[in-house]
């Protein structure tokens, strides 16, 4: 890997003054790759939207069946004052659930890591919670839990906590065996082994789980809102979608769906950036290598 470092250094030099035609070709290929990475998805999106618009116009599709992109954008702008507060509520529920799922998932994983018996006793129930569709538990939760916000949070939490629990448990158990021996040799206490060895070793696994949980908590929040189905003050985007579908206001449905997708993408991108920042110096998955 010294060679690796040397290559990085020499690459930098050659990037400043490219002389070798092979290097030139490589640099050009990298430039093309970098551009293609964002240009191609944008081209596909523009093409899809153009096709969609053309189809709606050419076949005179009624807007209450399939609105064109123009009408969706109009709805987004016209209904912004109604969609924006609803989006904020949905985001609040999503992030709240993600935070609780993180605390709960990591907490349970640490508890499981302390004792095989605890893990054996409770892991199956975590699996049961995970495999039972939230949409069938949600109505019960809204009966038993008086606060609607609490009900929404619980539903979203049930969906989101499992990947964090499962990945963190795996991570805590994957600490290098030889390093554990070293810690034993140093007379490290159980707590120190957890704090300085098992938790750092579990971090990449936890972050992988967190990325999945980010998307799931949004899905959980939306599903729970659908089930809760009550309007009025403090209702989220899912309720706006339900309401718009009752009124056959299809453009507004599309606008709301668009907002949910964008939210999901932003959550995923943020968690990916967080993961990269935390791992870039040491974990195999985030270290940039040549060749």
């Amino acid at each position: 890997m010294t060679a690796n470092l040397d290559t990085t250094a020499s690459l930098n030099v050659e990037a400043a003054a490219p002389v070798d035609p092979a290097e030139l070709r490589k640099a050009r290929r990298e430039r093309v790759d970098r551009t293609a990475r964002w240009l191609l998805p944008v081209v596909v999106m523009v093409a899809t939207i153009a096709l969609w618009q053309w189809y709606v116009d050419a076949f005179k599709v009624p807007h209450y069946i399939l609105p064109g992109p123009d009408r969706v954008v109009q709805a987004l702008i016209a209904d912004w004052s109604m969609l924006w507060p609803a989006l904020l509520i949905t985001i609040a529920i999503t992030l709240g659930a993600l935070v609780i799922a993180t605390i709960g998932g990591v907490g349970l994983a640490v508890l499981f890591a302390q004792s095989k018996w605890v893990e054996m006793s409770f892991f199956p129930y975590a699996v049961i919670l995970q495999v039972t569709p939230v949409i069938v538990i949600a109505p019960l939760i809204f009966i038993y839990v008086p606060s609607k916000i609490a009900g929404l949070l619980i539903c979203a939490w049930i969906v989101a906590f499992f990947p964090i629990l499962s990945n963190t448990t795996l991570g805590l158990n994957s600490a290098d065996h030889n390093l554990r021996n070293l810690f034993q040799l140093y007379g490290a206490t159980r707590w120190q082994t957890l704090r300085y060895l098992r938790l750092p070793a579990a971090l990449p696994y936890f972050l992988g789980g967190l990325k999945i949980a980010g998307g799931l908590s949004l899905i959980g929040a939306i599903v729970a809102e659908f089930v809760a189905g009550t309007g009025g003050l403090g209702s989220g985007l899912a309720f706006k979608i339900l309401e718009a579908s009752y009124r056959l206001n299809i453009p507004r449905m599309f606008a709301a769906i668009l907002l949910i997708s964008v939210t999901g993408i932003i959550i995923f991108a943020s968690l990916s950036v967080l993961s990269h920042l935390l791992l870039r110096h040491w974990h195999e998955s985030a270290i940039k290598r040549d060749s």
Partner: protein, 252 residues
């Protein structure tokens, strides 16, 4: 690479060690009637093929789990306990990938709840030739450099007994020779047990030499010249050939 002044020798005097007894794994004996005497203040090499219990001997001395039952005795010449006075270096570098070089070297201090002596850590890192790399993580170091970090950590711990479990086996020939010389120099005055399957390494470094095989432990006389021995000296090469044959089951 500039050499910093040599660190102080082991602050506690290094004892001789003795391990006697039987070891059973899964109901079958791995070794019986073993009597391994490790001389004080020098390198004892334990040479043998894989699977005869070399690493088990190290783990027993270090007080680590062995997955078997040991019926015997481990003692030091000064009567003090052994397992608490040991530093350990293995074939894998045993570095925490999330800690930088200084963090890894001072890991022991942190686990003991002490404020790490950063000045000393930096001096030792410089001593093993890594002056420009103090804040790098293991992933951006080569295999040889990582073993240097591991060696700096052993020096930082400053234990009188050092156990080495094939620490140079994964290195290329040149790096291995350099690391052998460096380790031999900086570990002077400590009781060192080197487990290896490389006859050349054993001949080069050993004040005392044992072969551990399925038939048990055999002491082998080393060349008269003191280690660290030249690779190309006739007596070294002759000895190396004898050990090689002994490893293959012919008389040493």
């Amino acid at each position: 690479m500039s050499k910093a002044p040599a660190p102080a020798p082991a602050s506690v005097s290094a004892p001789a060690l003795r391990l006697t007894g039987d070891f059973h794994h899964a109901g079958r004996p791995l070794f019986t009637g073993l009597d391994l005497a490790i001389a004080d203040r020098g390198w004892t090499c334990l040479l043998g093929p894989s699977g005869v219990g070399k690493s088990t001997v190290l783990r027993l001395l270090a007080g680590l789990d062995t997955g078997g039952t040991f019926d015997g005795d481990i003692s030091a010449s000064d009567g003090a306990p052994v397992a608490t006075r040991i530093a350990f270096m293995a074939q894998s570098d045993l570095l925490a990938p999330w800690l930088d070089v200084v963090g890894n070297v001072t890991l022991g201090a942190r686990l003991r709840g002490e404020a790490p002596d950063l000045v000393r850590a930096r001096a030792l890192i410089e001593r093993v030739g890594l002056a420009g790399h103090v804040d790098k993580r293991p992933a951006s170091l080569s295999g040889g450099m990582r073993q240097r970090v591991a060696l700096a950590r052993v020096l930082m711990e400053d234990r009188p007994i050092v156990l080495l479990d094939e620490p140079f086996a994964a290195l290329d020939a040149r790096t291995r020779a350099e690391m052998q010389e460096l380790a031999f120099e900086v570990l002077e005055g400590r009781t060192v047990l080197l487990v290896t399957h490389d006859p050349a390494e054993a001949v080069r470094l050993g004040h005392h030499l044992f072969i551990l095989s399925e038939d048990g432990l055999t002491r082998v006389d080393v060349p008269a010249s003191p280690p660290i021995r030249a690779v190309d000296a006739p007596e070294t090469m002759e000895m190396q050939a004898r050990l090689f044959h002994a490893l293959r089951g012919r008389p040493a």
